[in-house]
Amino acid sequence: MLKEVEARLGEGWRMQWGPPPRGVYLLKEVYMAEPEEASAYCREGDLVVVYIVAALEGGLNVVYGRVKPGLSKCPVATFMRRFAKSEARQAVKTLIDFATGVDKVPLFQINPELIRFAGLCDEYPVVCEDPVVVVSKLVAASARQLRQREAEPPPRPQTWLLEELVKILREKIELDAGFVEIVKKIVEDPERLRGCYV
């Protein structure tokens, strides 16, 4: 497994056994497991707790790991690489890519202050910006798309969509006979359906 991590990280990373140095955590602390919890898992198996540390010149370490550093029964491996101060952006980006790409950590678990520090807000607006801003941007974008679509002539008639719907409905009815009644009611009085959503 360690080989795999090394391969994913690429050139320049050095592995050492032992806990990571002190620094800023990439993940929000709420989402990092306690060392005791981790110990329960590695009692029998050959699990290793992996930390990845981007050491920025001048004493700032960015630490990525799913477990809070502390006393545990697990063997601990730390991958480290030194970055120049001007490479802070790239260093944090590497860690985020590893976390989200390899470990599949959702973006919202990442410490937003660190992303702001690295100046990566334009790449991860969902993490940095106020939700209101993100939503308004999305609305603006979808409105723009809608306008584009209106500007173009419709590409093909919408019958295929209807066919798909009919197919889905048929499957539903096969699964659950009671569904027929619902469909009947909707066909009788489509306005009643709207009442459900208000």
Binding site: V24, F117, C128
Partner: protein, 219 residues
């Protein structure tokens, strides 16, 4: 070792000259070096940190501090801790007015990293703020709060002076933190740092009590 002549609140103090004077050339250069990827000179650093106050705690990680404010700086650099209390001293005005607002946290507390505990302190001790904003803003807090604070409150500060606001009451406490907020919203600067730089004329003029010689008593 860096020996700043003021506490971490300076990160919310929109005045690059003040930074140079109080933090010293070494510290300022270190900050510029550490934020080189987002800001070119001190003005941009000041702007960037003011827009993203949570960044300050990360930027000063690993620095070693001395001088009269070393305790504050060490707590800030190692744990992201900022004291929520008000810092500025205001000339005394006898005042029994109640504003009906609970804001007992200095704007400096925006620098604290927003953990669950810090969030609790915000909600608990500055509950009135959350009538106007839904959450503690993590980017551009100055703009957000300038829009959010009610106009009547800003006007009270303008017409009667910050010192008057500072000596109004919330239950048995004074509204010293609220006065800091209003000063910060109007000027973008922190009152106690302005006082340390001898720059609080506006306040002195605006207060009704004219004998306002001693505005700042270093504790």
């Amino acid at each position: 070792m860096l020996k700043p002549k003021t506490d971490p609140c300076i990160f919310l103090h929109d005045d690059p000259e003040g930074w140079r004077l109080l933090l010293g050339e070494d510290f300022v250069n270190e900050l510029i070096r550490r934020l080189k990827h987002v800001a070119g000179d001190l003005d941009q650093v000041v702007r960037y940190i003011l827009d993203n106050p949570g960044v300050a705690g990360i930027v000063v990680r690993g620095l070693v501090f001395g001088g009269p404010f070393r305790e504050e700086w060490r707590l800030f650099a190692e744990g992201g801790y900022v004291d929520p209390g008000a810092r500025a001293r205001w000339p005394y005005m006898p005042n029994e007015e109640q504003l009906g607002l609970r804001i007992q946290i200095s704007p400096c507390f925006l620098l604290a990293s927003l953990s669950r505990e810090v969030n609790y302190v915000w909600r608990n001790r500055a509950s009135s703020l959350f009538k106007w904003v839904s959450a503690v803003p993590r980017s551009k807090p100055l703009e957000v709060f300038r829009e959010a604070f009610p106009a009547w409150l800003r006007e009270v500060a303008q017409s009667r002076g910050y010192a008057w606001v500072a000596w109004t009451r919330w239950r048995d406490r004074r509204n010293r933190a609220l006065a800091e907020w209003l000063y910060w919203l109007d000027t973008g600067r922190m009152p106690h740092i302005d006082a340390a730089l001898g720059r609080m004329y506006e306040t002195a003029l605006r207060t009704k009590k004219s004998a306002a010689e001693v505005l700042y008593v270093p504790s």
